[in-house]
Symmetry: C2
Subunit: 315 residues, 2 copies
């Protein structure tokens, strides 16, 4: 094994980079802006230049680098083809070929979806480091999901394994999701979804007191904070989020049977007040074979991606 | 590659065996009864004796056999440990070790859950032979499920990947499943579940005419036959089965993103009258990324297992 490895986590606004020793030590992490103009054609050259700059400063050549792992914000097939990344203005691209053309000296290249990369990171150095398989669900603007099962990152036939945000959790729903369908998990359990449900509840239960009414610009974080302070309406909102999400996760458990679920994303900063209702609902609905499945909060935050990207090269 | 390979599909009443050339030609298939007494301790020796008998008759030695693949009716971990097979009276067993002790000359041994094996079989020589990944759902007394994703059979951390029969599809249900929970998929979408729903509908809609009322001992097959002949109540029953199953399969698609769903098991003999409502519901609820997922009926019937077992050795 060569001494160095890079993790590159490409997001819509920033490219996060990590330089590691192959023993797992993070030597340096930094980020650069993502230039998404012109069909995102600068994204990969910029990332490579950033790595080359670090290598030059540290007098390291590609012959000392085990490889580069990359996470991208979109579906990635098992052969490294992305079908398109809206946030990067990318269409269909075969990343291994492009990377090889840009820098033939890279000896090993691995690429996956960004949430898959974060899942690998949490399994390696984070919340699930005692485990071999995990499903990670990130609750932010939308819902992301990464899956490591039977020791491998799952891609799916179209790179869409783990696209759980639009699983219908309410077949009677009448409010359309932005995807055009109804009752999508994201409409209830993302940060955006929680906020939507909160506003709806405040409107529908106009006479009910709640500290949420005092907020000028209500946020999902406000709901979590209010729940922690005992606000009954806020607690109910998190219960309802947990009910739907915990139940949806029983479907994922029934499919891939992970050792642990990792709850991440911005909303997960709320901690146990969020985690407990999810786990309670899971226990209520899960078949006995899955009742020992653990639930943990993500630990590595924005660094999970660079860790996971590096780890994919080492595996 | 050595010239021969065996597939051994162990069921609760019969052990099905197949002798293949490694080019995929089935040379002979046969079956022997499963002796489940004494903790099922005869099952593996009996299976081996059956293979040895075939080899003796055909003057073939183990040095000409690439390996033995086996399917068992219970969860199998990725290391070949079964956690217990109720129908065989087996507790926890590490099958590769036991097989090696019984016959050290076997050069390669593969084992998985019986429905996983059937899925591999259908992908190799059956309904999904144009595909690389599939989720197979068998509708019989219960619901079984096999998953091949990203080119590999899925096991799950406890060997319970694909245990979808007890996913809750009705959170308001009040009739308990035999598992102790409520609203399990199996209670609605297995052959047993369909029969239960049919009896309930006939009782609850006592004044409604239906040809099902003329049956002395109603069966799930009667419901499918009546639907094919245009009986409105029977058609509604299959619609409702399809509604629940198709929707549950969107959760599996969201998790592993297979190319194709294979519907098998006794109930699948009903054909398109069963398949169409499942696919219709899937299309209604599936996120756009999954709308091209194909649906096919299983083709190999009881032979799927031996084919899949043999194929696992060849992979």
């Amino acid at each position: 094994m060569l001494p160095y490895v890079f993790g590159v986590d490409i997001g819509g606004t920033a490219i996060k980079l990590g330089a590691f020793r192959t023993d797992g030590t993070l030597l340096e992490k930094w980020q650069i802006p993502t230039r998404t103009e012109d069909g995102g054609k600068n994204v990969l050259p910029d990332a490579l230049d950033a790595l080359r700059g670090w290598m030059a400063r540290n007098q390291i050549g590609w012959e000392q680098v085990e490889g580069v792992g990359m996470g991208v914000p979109g579906p990635v097939k098992i052969d490294g083809t992305v079908s398109g990344c809206i946030n990067l203005n990318w269409g269909e691209l075969h990343l291994p070929a492009i990377l090889h053309e840009l820098e033939p000296a890279i000896s090993k290249f691995r690429v996956t979806n960004d949430v898959n990369a974060a899942t690998v990171g949490e399994l390696w150095k984070g919340a699930a480091s005692d485990n071999l398989s995990a499903v990670m669900v990130t609750l932010g603007t939308g819902i992301g999901c990464g899956i490591v099962a039977d020791g491998r990152v799952m891609s799916g036939s179209e790179g869409a394994a783990g696209e759980i945000g639009h699983f219908c959790v309410d077949r009677e729903a009448t409010v359309p999701c932005k995807c055009g369908k109804y009752g999508c998990l994201e409409q209830y359990c993302s940060a955006t979804g929680l906020l939507r449900c909160a506003k709806l509840a405040l409107f529908q239960q106009a006479s009910r007191p709640s500290s949420l009414r005092e907020k000028k610009r209500l946020s999902a974080k406000d709901v979590c904070d209010a729940a922690r302070e005992g606000d009954a309406l806020a607690l109910e909102l998190l219960d309802e989020l947990g009910e739907k999400l915990g139940w949806a996760l029983t479907a994922m458990a029934s499919t891939v049977n992970p050792e642990v679920f990792i709850i991440g994303g911005g909303l997960s900063k709320a901690g146990d007040i969020l985690l407990q209702p999810i786990e309670r609902s899971f226990q209520k609905y899960a078949f006995h074979a899955f009742q020992d499945t653990a639930f943990v909060l993500a630990e590595l935050g924005n660094d999970a991606g660079i860790y996971g990207c590096a780890k994919m090269v080492l595996d």
